[in-house]
């Protein structure tokens, strides 16, 4: 089954339920992932069309697993967890600014520009964090 390769073991062959680990495979992205990368990875993924063939059993699960995997990669490129920075609370990459505070700042009415200009946070890292989180949350979380 070709579609297994690009998911690196995230989806079990023939399974309707994706077996997703939030840690995922230890793949390091060389730079922040942008929207174009997602499109590119779609095209280059072996068996992608096959995985999206609606007549193929498990294709929706494969789609969810792929998106989750990409979401995890985006989060991994935008979040650090380091015991010596904010006691291990997830922080934006390279900073001591917690990811939770980013969300809370937005809830308090801050825009991305407020965060980048006002708090001197990196725009690309912020965008990757928010996009990654949105991808992770964008599938049913019921069994």
């Amino acid at each position: 089954m070709k579609a297994e390769n690009w998911q690196e073991g995230i989806v079990r062959p023939g399974s309707q339920k994706p077996h997703v680990s939030i840690l995922g495979p230890q793949t390091k992205c060389p730079r922040p992932i942008v929207q174009e990368d997602l499109q590119f990875r779609k095209r280059e993924a072996t068996g992608w069309e096959d995985a999206f063939n609606p007549s193929r059993p498990g294709s929706h699960a494969a789609h969810i697993a792929y998106r989750t995997y990409m979401g995890v990669l985006m989060l991994r490129d935008s979040i650090d967890v380091d015991r010596e920075r904010r006691h291990g609370i997830p922080v934006l990459k390279g900073t001591r600014f917690t990811a939770s505070q980013v969300l809370a700042q937005i809830a308090d009415g801050d825009s991305l520009q407020d965060l980048t200009d006002g708090l001197q946070l990196d725009h690309d890292i912020l965008v990757n964090f928010l996009r990654g989180l949105s991808i992770i949350l964008d599938h049913p979380h019921v069994p």
Binding site: G94, T95, R96, Q105
Partner: protein
Amino acid sequence: MNFVQFDEDVNASHLAQACISEGKVTPKRFPRHWCGSGIKDSQVISELIPRGNLILTSDLRFAEDWIEFVPDAHPGIAIIGLDEDDVRTATTHIIQSILAAFKADVPGWHLANWRNSIVIIRPRYIDIGHCESRKLVQDDFIDRQSADWIKRLSSKLDANSSRSTIC
């Protein structure tokens, strides 16, 4: 106190602007070259304390967890936080409102001697302590509803400032 040094979590331009507008202290933003550098908490403490400015942070465990990096004599650490029954994540806007309420209650806050004190300011309580031989010692836990809380805070700040003069 002439300057207040912002930690990264309170390093907001609107907080700095509010300080400048009040004209009581000059804010010092978190060093730009540290942003995104992955600097550790202990390095931040070790680098900021010798600069001699009161450190402002919202990291409740900033001093407690890295107390071995805090000398007995230091310029003071003010930690702004929410009450323990408030589940929100502290944002710079919330911190600004807590600070504004504190400043309204204690108009002479900028004249007080914060040296050697580690003060957690919450909407309802104030926790004041100091560092003694790399250990955090609590001096008082003050209910801001009590009638004499400003007097108690002032006396503890004075007592701590006279503990050690070498910084």
